[in-house]
Symmetry: C2
Subunit: 338 residues, 2 copies
DNA sequence: CTGAAAGCGCTAACAT
DNA sequence: ATGTTAGCGCTTTCAG
C-alpha cells in the first residue's frame, strides 16, 4: 500500500499540498502543473488514502449505519438503495445491520456506536424494541433518525404516509363498488399499525362506506398472522366483500387461508395489500397492492441525519412524495351483483 | 469521549500497561491490584477504545464484509446470523452490503476494500457478476471467500451441498410413489444451477425414476421464471406427476401458474422446493421444502476467511452438516392411482 | 512487573 | 503558492 508520503516523494510536492489536492480542498490555490503532477503520481502508485488514518485525524468515519428489523423484508432493498444513493452523493458509505443483531449482541452498540465506527445511525426499531436500543445510541451522542416508528418524541423521526396509502387502497375498493370493507392490521401499539388503522377508519367514514369493529383485526403482519386474521373474520356473521391488508406478508397468509376455506379471490372477496414487492406478482391471484415511496424514505433519512445539528430540537417528518400509488392486479374486482 | 490517557491518569498506571490490561494481553503479568485499578478507572470513565486509532496502529479493522446479491432473499438472514455469530466469537464485526451496490457504485470497492475498512470479504456474487467484482478485491490483496458460486478456481470457495439437497427432494417424491419427475432449475452457467441439475439427474437415475429432457427447465430462480417454466412444461405432451423446484421464489411462480391453468397441487402434481423460509408456510398449499444449512454456511465462511494464509493455495469446501432436511407440508402427496 | 517513547497515515494550522 | 510540523489515540517494542 502506498501512502501519501510516496505520492509526495514521487511528485516532489509536500505531503500537505498533496493531501489538499487529493481531497479537493476548494480554498487551495495550486498551479495547474503541480496539481497535475500530484494526480499523476497518485494514479501511478494506485494511491488510496488510508481510512483509519483519515478517520483518526478528522474524527469522522464517513460511514452511516442503516439498521432494520428484518433485512429480509422485501421492502428493505429499496430503502437501502435510496439511502446508499443519497449517502454516495455525500461521499459517505452505508453499512447495513440487522436490528436483531443489535438487540442480541450487546457488544454491537459498543463496537459500532461507542468506538465511533459510524457518524450516525438510521434505525427502524422493531415494534417490541427495548428502549435501551435507542437510548444506547442517544446517550453516546450519536446522531440518530428513527424511521417508520413513532412520529414524535425527543429523537428525530421520519415516517411514510401510512394513512394516505391506506386511503388509496380504500378508494380503489370504493371505485370498484365495494361498500363493506374489512381491515387486517398490525398489533396495536405497533409503530405503523395505529396510523394505518386510523387511516382506514377515516377513509371508510369519509367515503361513506361501511365497516364493523369485528371486521378489523389487529393480529400482526406475519404470514401466520394473516391466516389467523381470516380465521377470526370468518367467525363473524357476515364477511365484508373486500379486505385491506396492511402488510403484504400478512396478505400471503390471508390468501392461503381464504383458499383453505374455499373462498375465491376476487370473486367472493377482494384483497388489496400495502407494499408492492416482487412476490405480489407471484401469488395466485396476483395481488393488487399500494406502492410506497421507500427509496425516497431511505434518501430522506440520510438527508435528515446530515442536517441534524446538536442542540436543536428533534425534527419529525413525513415522506409525502411520490404519493402512494395503486398497482392493480387480479386480487380485486368489482363487487359481485348480489 | 475519554481516552486511554484519561484512564491512565485516573488509575495512575501507564498508558502502555492500561492498553495491555484492557485488551486482555495474555503475555502480561500485572498485579491483581493494578489490573483492578485500571478496570475501575475505565468503567468510571466509560472508556471505549477509539476504533480509528486502533485500526491505524494495528492496520486491522476487525471488520468483515458480507456481500450478497439480494439481502432481501429470505435465505440471507440465516446466513448473516451464522456469519455474525462466528465473527462475534473472534471480536469481529460484520458489515452487510448489497452486491448490486458493489456493481453499481464503483467507489464502493475503493472505499471499502481499498481504504482498508474491512479485513476480508465474503462474497456471494450474482450469477452474472462481472469478473472485475472479484478481481477488484483480489488485486487489492484482500482476503476473500466466495460462497455459493463456482467450487474451484484460484479464489477460496464455500458452497452448500446442492446435489444432496436435490436428492432429498427426489427421494421424498420417490417415497410417495412418484416416478415421473420434472425439474425447474436456474439458468445454465449459473453458479448453483449446474450442481442442482446434475444432482437431479443423478438422483433420478440412481433411484430408477423417469424424467425427460423437456421436463427440465433452466429458465431462472425468480417468481416470473417459475411461471414461465410451467408454461414451457405444459407445452410438452404429458406432464410429470411431480416437480422439484430448485428455488422457493421460482416455486411461488410455479404455484401461481399451475393455479392459473387449473392444475391442482398436490392432486394433479406435487411440488417440492429448495430452501425453507417463512413464506413456504404462507403459500397455498403450504410448500414442502428442503431446508439447507445456511447458518452453518455463514459461520464456516468466516472461519475460512480467518484461516486464510497469504500464499497458500485456495481452499474449496462444501458445507455438509447438518445435511439438507425435508420439511414436509401440503404441496406433495402420494401419486394418484391413475 | 511497569514506564517511556516511537510511530501508524493523515490533515490543518502555521510558516515561508 | 507550497512546505513544515504537530498530533489525532492507540499499541508495542525496549529499557528499567
Amino acid at each position: 500500500m502506498s501512502t501519501i508520503r510516496d505520492v509526495s516523494a514521487l511528485s516532489g510536492v509536500s505531503r500537505g499540498a498533496v493531501s489538499r489536492v487529493l481531497s479537493g480542498d476548494s480554498t487551495l490555490r495550486v498551479s495547474a502543473e503541480t496539481r497535475e503532477r500530484v494526480l499523476a503520481a497518485a494514479r501511478e502508485l494506485d494511491y488510496v488514502p488510508n481510512h483509519a488514518a483519515r478517520a483518526l485525524r478528522t474524527s469522522r468515519s464517513s460511514t452511516l449505519a442503516l439498521v432494520v428489523p428484518d433485512v429480509t423484508s422485501a421492502v428493505f432493498a429499496e430503502l437501502a438503495r435510496g439511502a446508499e444513493e443519497q449517502a454516495g452523493a455525500h461521499d459517505l458509505t452505508i453499512v447495513l445491520a440487522r436490528a436483531e443483531q443489535l438487540a442480541a449482541d450487546s457488544t454491537w452498540m459498543q463496537r459500532v456506536v461507542g468506538e465511533g465506527r459510524v457518524d450516525g445511525v438510521i434505525l427502524q426499531a422493531p415494534d417490541n424494541a427495548p428502549d435501551r436500543m435507542v437510548d444506547g445510541i442517544v446517550e453516546r451522542g450519536m446522531p440518530l433518525v428513527l424511521i417508520n416508528s413513532a412520529d414524535d418524541g425527543p429523537v428525530a423521526t421520519l415516517v411514510l404516509d401510512d394513512a394516505a396509502a391506506i386511503r388509496v387502497a380504500v378508494e380503489h375498493l370504493h371505485a370498484l363498488g365495494h361498500s363493506d370493507i374489512g381491515f387486517v392490521g398490525g398489533v396495536p401499539g405497533g409503530a405503523t399499525a395505529g396510523r394505518r388503522l386510523n387511516g382506514f377508519q377515516r377513509a371508510v367514514s369519509q367515503l361513506g362506506l361501511h365497516t364493523r369493529p369485528e371486521w378489523s383485526t389487529t393480529i400482526g403482519y406475519s404470514g401466520d398472522d394473516g391466516r389467523r386474521a381470516v380465521a377470526a373474520l370468518t367467525r363473524t356473521s357476515a364477511l365484508p366483500t373486500a379486505l385491506v391488508v396492511a402488510n403484504l406478508n400478512a396478505a400471503l397468509g390471508v390468501l392461503a387461508e381464504l383458499h383453505a376455506r374455499e373462498l375465491r379471490v376476487p370473486d367472493d372477496i377482494s384483497i388489496v395489500a400495502l407494499h408492492d414487492v416482487w412476490y405480489a406478482d407471484a401469488t395466485w391471484p396476483p395481488m393488487t397492492t399500494v406502492r410506497m415511496p421507500l427509496r425516497e424514505l431511505g434518501a430522506a433519512a440520510v438527508s435528515m441525519l446530515l442536517a441534524q445539528k446538536p442542540g436543536e430540537p428533534a425534527d419529525h417528518r413525513v415522506v409525502h412524495f411520490p404519493p402512494p400509488q395503486l398497482v392493480p392486479r387480479a386480487s380485486t374486482a368489482r363487487v359481485p351483483a348480489s
